[in-house]
């Protein structure tokens, strides 16, 4: 059996990749993808602990989380589509009307 620490390590790596992408990327699509990565890292944790404790509640929670992530992605992409129509770009550098 694979020890839980490896799951957690993979999860942490994926989360960090997502976090790094969130902070550095300019494109809206990539940022959404990074958010997905971070969510999935969290899902991985949930499933890993669920399996570790032999408790299905964690896996149920992960399913909810995936459903929510799908909704989030749908809304996020819809916003980006609207932005693209408005501004001809989805680079977040140019979408900064709330700046100083």
């Amino acid at each position: 059996m694979i020890p839980i620490a490896l799951y957690l390590a993979v999860s942490a790596i994926i989360f960090s990749i997502g976090l790094y992408g969130l902070m550095t990327q300019r494109s809206g699509i990539r940022i959404l993808m990074c958010v997905e990565l971070m969510l999935n890292a969290a899902n991985l944790n949930l499933v890993a602990f669920s399996s570790y404790h032999h408790d299905l509640t964690g896996q149920v929670f992960a399913l909810f989380s995936i459903a929510l992530a799908a909704c989030e992605a749908a809304i996020g992409f819809a916003i980006l589509m609207a932005l693209y129509r408005l501004k001809d770009t989805i680079s977040l550098d140019h979408i900064n009307i709330l700046r100083w």
């Binding site: 976090l19 550095t24 300019r26 100083w100």
Partner: protein, 671 residues
């Protein structure tokens, strides 16, 4: 009931007339002139009766005091000095009011004029009647205000408004000195009483002040390294007030400009009455001056210098009234000199100066009224446009010539024949000679003699240029109405004979003031306090001294006759802007340039403007610094709001991470 009990009515009646004329004058014919005329006539009768009573019974001095508050009082004092002044002021004021009904008949606002002159007369009479120095100061300021109002009577004329302001501000310099003197005097007297002034003792009453002269003389102040007794200090400050009011050098600059007012105002205020208030002040406080010989010397020198200085400017002026204004300054200088010679002749000086004051009031009011008559008929002040006025205005011309003779002092020395100016002015010049003889200061005498020559030149130049020869322009005048010529004739009569009739009794009468009545003091003892002795009257001056003033007067007449009458001597080269001396005199020694344009406008006005700007800038800078601080810090702080989501995310993550670390650390520590 003694006539002295009515003395309080003398200033109160004109004050009442002021109120009535001010409110109801517009509805009455001739601007309600009848009200002040009636009031002042009554005051004149009361004054005359009091004076006659005093002449008969010199000990019946009117003195009434009422407590005002604390140790101050209000009261009236009619001693010989005040009595002659009261009679003169009410009489001249009465004649000028009558004359004004004719002179102001074409004016827009005669009721305002008569109200203001009535107020002036009331204040002037109040000033003379005061029995304490504070009340005198209050009235002193009141006459100053009236002078301001009346100089600026035609205030829609910018020059008149400016002249009024100038007069008010210039005399203010003197008034501040006067007030300082009163304050010093009050604090000294308070110290002398050790702060315990008994009930019923009013420390600013003149008799109370005079009683403490020895104590004041004992107090010393150190000013600029010089030991000065307080009595010298106080008297000099009082004299400073007199310099402002009586137009002595260097504060005389307002008086010629004051001629912007109606000519009757010039006659009443700036010739006969108000400007003599300074002389009256010095005469009133004369015992203090006697104890301060240095102050008396200053009075004598300033007076003599002013007499000559104003005379030099009088000979080049082309404006009828300005010549007379400089003449007034010059004659006031003579009066001050007359008081200043008290250092040699004692209390007689008051008699001499007052005698000249009264005579001067008559003939100078007459000169001004004659000038007013000419101006009224002809409509110009400029002598260069006149000439030959005697043909159309014979009464005015004759009275003017009489006044000129009185001013120059034509008479035969050693007899009682002469115009009134002859008796008083020559008395002053002879006293100045006496002072030179006893104290060795000959300068006042020399200045006074030179001024006598100038007096004669400027006044006869005026007479020749105005009344003699052919008309230089087409002015078309007519003789003035009877309301104007009758006062002229009465004044002319007085200018001619008053001096001769009263010269014997006047001096003893006024000198009584300080010697026997009311004050009861020994002038010689006071002089000893000042550290000197009065000369016993030397009696006989050399013949030349007696005749010299007359010779000077006649020389002036001859010179002007040659130049302006016969036109034998050609003055064109001298009277031109190229002649530096003429230019200097014509520009009035550049006083206007120095006092008004330089000191007032450049130094004071621009100085204040500069200081104001500097303060403004200081405030502006401070306020702006705070606003800049807020703006700039906001400007730099708002850079945090980049609008880029990544940055917000980074900040959130950083914050959360730090929070986690912090919690971890805190937990570690707590465990």
């Amino acid at each position: 009931m003694a006539v002295g009990d009515l003395a309080f009515l003398i200033p109160v009646l004109p004050a009442l007339a002021f109120v009535l004329t001010f409110f109801f004058g517009k509805k009455l014919p001739t601007g309600g002139a009848i009200i002040p005329i009636a009031a002042i006539a009554t005051s004149f009768v009361i004054s005359l009766l009091i004076t006659l009573n005093l002449l008969a019974n010199p000990e019946e001095v009117v003195s009434q005091s009422y407590s005002w508050f604390a140790m101050l009082n209000i009261g009236i004092l009619v001693d010989p000095l005040a009595a002659v002044m009261l009679t003169m002021v009410t009489f001249v004021s009465l004649l000028i009011h009558i004359y004004s009904t004719g002179y102001m008949s074409h004016d827009k606002a005669p009721s305002r004029y008569f109200a203001e002159t009535a107020l002036f007369t009331a204040s002037m009479l109040g000033l003379i009647l005061s029995d304490n120095i504070l009340q005198l100061f209050v009235c002193w300021e009141l006459v100053g205000v009236c002078s301001y109002l009346l100089i600026g009577f035609w205030f829609e004329k910018p020059s008149a408004a400016t002249a009024a302001k100038k007069a008010f501000l210039t005399t203010r310099i003197g008034d501040v000195m006067f007030l300082t003197g009163i304050i010093v005097l009050f604090s000294d007297l308070f110290k002398i009483f050790n702060g315990n002034v008994p009930d019923g003792v009013y420390i600013l009453r003149f008799d109370e002040i005079f009683a403490h002269i020895p104590d004041l003389a004992a107090m010393n102040a150190n000013i600029l390294g010089m030991e000065v007794s307080h009595i010298t200090l106080i008297t000099l400050l009082f004299f400073g007030g007199a310099v402002g009011k009586s137009g002595q050098f260097p504060l005389h600059v307002w008086l010629p400009d004051a001629m912007e007012g109606p000519t009757t105002v010039s006659a009443l205020i700036h010739a006969a009455t108000m400007v003599t208030a300074g002389v009256y002040l010095v005469a009133r406080t004369f015992p203090m001056f006697i104890a301060a010989p240095d102050s008396l010397m200053v009075v004598a020198y300033v007076g003599a210098f002013t007499a000559l200085f104003a005379g030099t400017m009088g000979i080049v002026m082309n404006d009828l009234k300005r010549v007379l204004a400089y003449s007034t300054i010059s004659q006031l200088g003579y009066m001050m000199l007359g008081l200043g010679v008290g250092a040699a002749v004692g209390s007689e000086a008051v008699g001499i100066a007052l005698f000249h004051l009264i005579n001067h009031a008559f003939f100078k009011a007459l000169l001004f009224l004659c000038a007013g008559s000419v101006i009224h008929a002809v409509g110009t002040h400029d002598m260069r446009q006149l000439g030959g006025v005697a043909k159309v205005m014979p009464v005015t011309a004759v009275t003017m010539i009489v006044a000129s003779l009185a001013l120059t002092g034509i008479g035969i020395p050693g007899t009682s024949i002469g115009t009134s100016g002859f008796f008083s002015k020559d008395a002053i010049i002879e006293s100045a000679y006496l002072m030179g003889e006893t104290t060795g200061s000959w300068i006042p005498y020399i200045l006074a003699i030179a001024a006598a020559l100038l007096t004669s030149i400027y006044i006869f130049r005026l007479v020749f240029m105005t009344f003699y020869g052919k008309p230089r322009t087409d002015y078309g005048g007519h003789e003035s109405p009877a309301s104007m010529t009758i006062p002229l004739s009465i004044l002319a009569l007085l200018a001619l004979v008053f001096g001769g009739l009263t010269s014997k009794i006047f001096n003893t009468f006024v000198s009584e003031t300080f010697v026997n009545n009311f004050v009861n003091m020994n002038i010689h003892e006071l002089a000893t306090l000042g550290g000197y002795h009065l000369a016993e009257h030397a009696g006989e001056e050399p013949m030349l001294v007696l005749w010299l003033p007359l010779i000077m007067a006649l020389a002036g007449l001859v010179i002007t006759f040659l130049i302006y009458g016969l036109r034998i001597v050609n003055m064109d080269s001298l009277v031109s802007r190229n002649n530096p001396i003429y230019k200097l005199l014509y520009n009035r020694y550049y006083q206007n340039a120095i006092f008004t344009n330089f000191i007032s406008v450049k130094v004071i006005y621009e100085g204040f403007a500069f200081a104001g700007r500097a303060v403004d800038r200081g405030f502006d800078w401070t306020v702006k610094w705070f606003s800049d601080l807020a703006i700039e810090s906001g400007e730099s702080l708002r850079q945090f709001q980049t609008g880029a989501v990544q940055n917000y995310a980074t900040a959130v993550i950083t914050g959360v991470s730090l929070l986690v670390i912090l919690i971890k650390v805190v937990m570690e520590v707590l465990q």
